[in-house]
């Protein structure tokens, strides 16, 4: 029988071992929020993070999760995890947020890597992937207002940055950075950047902006939806086409809702990425890249329902490569008409996308 002082030494030893072991490399099990079968249904349980080099630094193949503070410095986030039975548990909201961001982006990496055909290993395509910044709850001022309730992917001179902004007044479910579909939406922008935009060899604004921007948003919406599919049960395999609504229900981004382009009014909101007033579909008189992209996403969701989503997703990766290689026409003349005709396996009937010059 141990005496009390021996119990104390044993407890301190266990604590020391436990804490020292948090600086581990993957694969590791971390308790996180994950989509469950059904609309806006989530489970909290162990998730396997496979590519992590350091849990306490939250750094690995996908880059490094950190905090972009008010002094505009990217710093290591203060994280703490506990371990019981081989599973790590975040000890506060920030640690949960950081681990979730890394895990969701890693899910996007494996989503593209494990496609049945046309799979893409972005670590091969972009060797600097592990140098990416993954900014959690970034502090940023735009037009004299703090940016909240959003997420983004930025590319600047070879540097990849994934951003999640703090939650504001519009979040009614999970914050943007905690919604796996939304973060894989951002990861898909990263894929589009390297498979399409950089291959085209032109600056974004030299390419017809609405067309490529809308294609980017539509691809991102659809691959975000793919991340909500949970194989194994019929309900799980349906995924959650309304995953955007689990974060902000005012967004008109439910992929399963039919949308049609009003061809006569496509220019009023051009080049306005952030104007959500332009997201009125159908029957809206305005369109932005997000609204046009959501028409593209709907058409691909409908086709995925017919042929199988992962098989259909592979045709979209093929489309990305063809556009990047110039097989769908020159960058200067890229239109949805050329994209639709270039998409082997695509079906855009009833959306009017194929008529957009």
């Amino acid at each position: 029988m141990l005496k009390w002082n021996q119990w104390l030494v044993a407890a301190l030893g266990a604590a020391l071992l436990s804490a020292c072991s948090t600086n581990v490399s993957g694969p590791i099990q971390v308790r996180l929020i994950q989509p469950a079968p059904g609309h806006c249904r989530y489970n909290i349980g162990p998730a396997t993070i496979q590519t992590l080099n350091s849990l306490t630094n939250m750094q690995g193949l996908m880059g490094r999760v950190g905090y972009f503070d008010r002094s505009e410095t990217f710093v290591k986030a203060d994280l703490q995890f506990g371990q019981v039975g081989g599973t790590y548990t975040p000890m506060d909201y920030g640690s949960l947020y950081a681990a979730s961001l890394y895990y969701y982006l890693e899910s996007g990496y494996f989503l593209f890597k494990n496609l049945p055909t046309n799979s893409v290993d972005m670590a091969q395509e972009v060797p600097s992937l592990s140098s990416s910044q993954i900014q959690m709850e970034t502090y940023e001022i735009s037009k004299d207002e703090e940016v909240k309730d959003n997420a983004a992917y930025l590319y600047d001179e070879g540097n990849n940055t994934f951003i999640s902004y703090p939650a504001g007044d519009f979040v009614n479910g999970l914050p943007f950075g905690m919604n796996r579909g939304i973060m894989i939406h951002e990861y898909t922008h990263f894929v589009m950047r390297h498979l399409v935009r950089n291959k085209l060899g032109k600056q974004t604004k030299q390419i017809p902006y609405d067309t490529l921007g809308a294609l980017d948003e539509g691809m991102a919406d659809y691959f975000g939806f793919l991340s909500t599919i949970i194989p194994g049960t019929p309900e799980g395999e349906k995924g959650d086409p309304g995953y955007f609504l689990c974060t902000e229900d005012s967004l008109d981004r439910d992929l399963s809702v039919a949308k049609t382009v009003n061809v006569s009014r496509t220019t009023d909101c051009r080049n306005d990425l952030a104007d959500y007033d332009c997201l009125r579909i159908p029957g809206s008189k305005y369109f932005s890249v997000h609204s046009l992209g959501s028409v593209f996403a709907y058409a691909n969701w409908a086709q995925g329902e017919r042929v199988g989503h992962f098989q259909h997703a592979a045709t979209l990766v093929d489309l990305m490569r063809k556009i990047g290689n110039g097989a769908c026409g020159s960058a200067d003349n890229l239109t949805f008409q050329s994209i639709v005709s270039c998409h082997s396996g695509g079906n855009y009937s009833g959306t009017n996308l194929g008529t957009l010059q």
Binding site: A19, A36, R41, D69, V75, M91, D92, G94, A98, N172
Partner: protein
């Protein structure tokens, strides 16, 4: 000579006797006797008098000297405090760069050598953060031992400084929509502590304590604790 003495005594008695007989009333009471003690005590008067006398005798002399106070005190002290524990947090959601946890703290002081005091203590805290449907809650139990030095442990205003070390047992719960999950974490914190206690009564004091600790098991993350409450001498 004997005759002379007898004559003088007789003369004096002869002078005084007429004076007393003329000026003294029949019911004369000596003034001193009437103020201090009734001539005839009733049973009630006896009891009152007896109680006053006994209380006057039994009461200890009022202690005004600080140095004499320790004579009748054991030197042991216990206390209960409301406490706030802040954990350094550079991400959003904290206050002044700290994530606050609120709770209570209890302690017991034992004098060891000279003005050194050993203070076992335990705290229980809760902190919560959340956005919309997402909520994280941490329950923290912190047993610890402080080694303190006070220049004058029995002073009316007592100052103390020392070293504290605490074990953190943290139970963290994550809730989202209708599901929840939890896990355990540990920490071990060491750092300086300082406190002040103001006497509020014969055996009680208002105690304010602060500590700055570093979680050596979690990258040395800074914690700041402040506790306020009452302490009582045993």
């Amino acid at each position: 000579m004997r005759r002379l003495a007898i004559v003088i005594l007789l003369g004096l008695s002869g002078l005084s006797q007429p004076l007393l007989a003329e000026d003294t009333p029949a019911a004369y009471t000596p003034p001193l006797m009437s103020d201090s003690l009734p001539r005839v005590l009733s049973r009630v008067d006896k009891r009152r008098y007896s109680r006053r006398r006994s209380s006057r005798i039994a009461r200890a002399p009022q202690i005004r000297s600080r140095s004499r106070a320790v004579i009748y005190r054991s030197g042991r002290r216990w206390g209960a405090q409301f406490s706030v524990l802040g954990k350094k947090q550079n991400t959003n959601g904290g206050v002044l760069g700290m994530l606050p946890a609120f709770g209570i703290r209890g302690f017991m002081d034992f004098p060891i050598v000279g003005n050194f005091i050993l203070e076992p203590n335990i705290g229980a805290y809760v902190s919560a953060q959340g956005v919309a449907e997402l909520r994280t809650t941490q329950f923290r139990l912190t047993p610890g031992v402080d080694v303190l030095y006070s220049p004058n442990p029995v002073a009316r205003t007592r100052f103390q400084i020392g070293i504290t070390n605490k074990l953190d047992v943290i139970w963290s719960q994550i809730q989202a929509f209708n599901d929840s999950s939890s896990g355990l974490g540990l920490g071990y914190r060491v750092g300086p502590t300082a406190g002040v206690a103001f006497k509020t009564g014969r055996d009680s004091a208002f105690a304010l304590d602060m500590d700055w600790t570093f979680d050596v098991l979690n990258e040395g993350r800074l914690h700041f604790g402040i506790s306020a409450g009452m302490a009582f001498w045993l």
